[in-house]
Amino acid sequence: MLTKFDLVNTDGLKGLSYDGDFVPFDKITDELAEQLEGKTHVLKRKSPAAAAKAMKAVEAESAK
């Protein structure tokens, strides 16, 4: 799940072709998003506060 980035402008798109692979949007991780930053228009970096909030939500979800 993406915590540091938001997916944007994905209307009508199903994913990306990157480095020879098809990458569906739901398979984009934070690590891959870091690589893709600036190389696609569908990723927007979250503000530090929003990223921290998303990280807390993920941690809370995994603690259940």
Partner: protein, 229 residues
């Protein structure tokens, strides 16, 4: 063995002569030794300026990085292509400082994206060449693939692609993405279907995307390709 002893004798004689000359003319011997490259100078003469990262052998300078890049497999052909109509592109980035590499994303209009076109293995190629008379030269791009079989699906694509104005990204077998067409000039689509005559003849369609009058080779593209749903 008979030939070895005379050679050894000659070697000893020359060494003795050298020692004698050195002891008789020490200043000249020192000047001669300093004139001949040695130590770091020999290394510099062989590998060139280390700071420049190059080797210099026989007066040919080849950067070490380039040798390493060349010293690997170099297969031909294309492995995949992605197609979009030029009018569906919102932003076509400019190339970087090298004038041939685009490293930021091509942005399609909302609801649009690239679509992959399947083709027979070992049938895809992208070419570019100079065109036009001297004083009016430009660059022509063409990208060709072969799609086996005659089918309603393939023919429907042909029906809708004629007179289209496309931008096509082909991935070569070395992993480089190359763009045929640009933001101002697309590549046109042509096809040539042949059923063949005999049982082992080819039955399929040659697809060709081509364009002339470009001011650049097919750009290299290092960003991601947005795919239409």
């Amino acid at each position: 063995m008979k030939k070895l002893f005379p050679a050894l004798k000659m070697g000893l004689f020359l060494m003795a002569l050298l020692l004698l000359a050195t002891s008789l003319f020490p200043d000249q011997a020192l000047a001669l030794a300093q004139a001949v490259p040695h130590g770091a100078d020999v290394l510099h003469a062989l590998v060139g300026d280390a700071a420049a990262g190059g080797t210099m052998l026989g007066c040919v300078v080849v950067p070490i990085a380039e040798i390493i890049l060349d010293d690997c497999p170099n297969p031909g052909g294309l492995t995949d292509i992605h197609v979009i109509r030029r009018r569906d592109i919102l932003t076509f980035p400019d190339p970087g400082a090298d004038k041939v590499t685009i490293s930021t994303a091509i942005v399609p209009k909302a609801g649009c994206g690239f679509v992959p076109w399947e083709f027979a293995q070992d049938s895809g190629e992208i070419n570019h060449k100079s065109a036009g008379d001297a004083g009016n030269q430009s660059i022509a791009h063409d990208l060709n693939v072969y799609v086996p079989r005659g089918s309603a699906t393939t023919d429907a694509v042909i029906q809708s692609a004629l007179n289209g104005d496309f931008v096509v990204i082909g991935r070569d077998s070395n992993g480089n993405l190359r763009i045929a067409g640009d933001k101002r000039r697309g590549v046109k689509f042509e096809h040539d279907y042949k059923s063949g005559k005999k049982g082992n003849d080819k039955n399929g369609t040659d697809f060709k995307f081509s364009g002339e009058g470009f001011t650049h080779v097919p750009f290299y593209y290092t960003a991601a390709i947005p795919l239409k749903a």
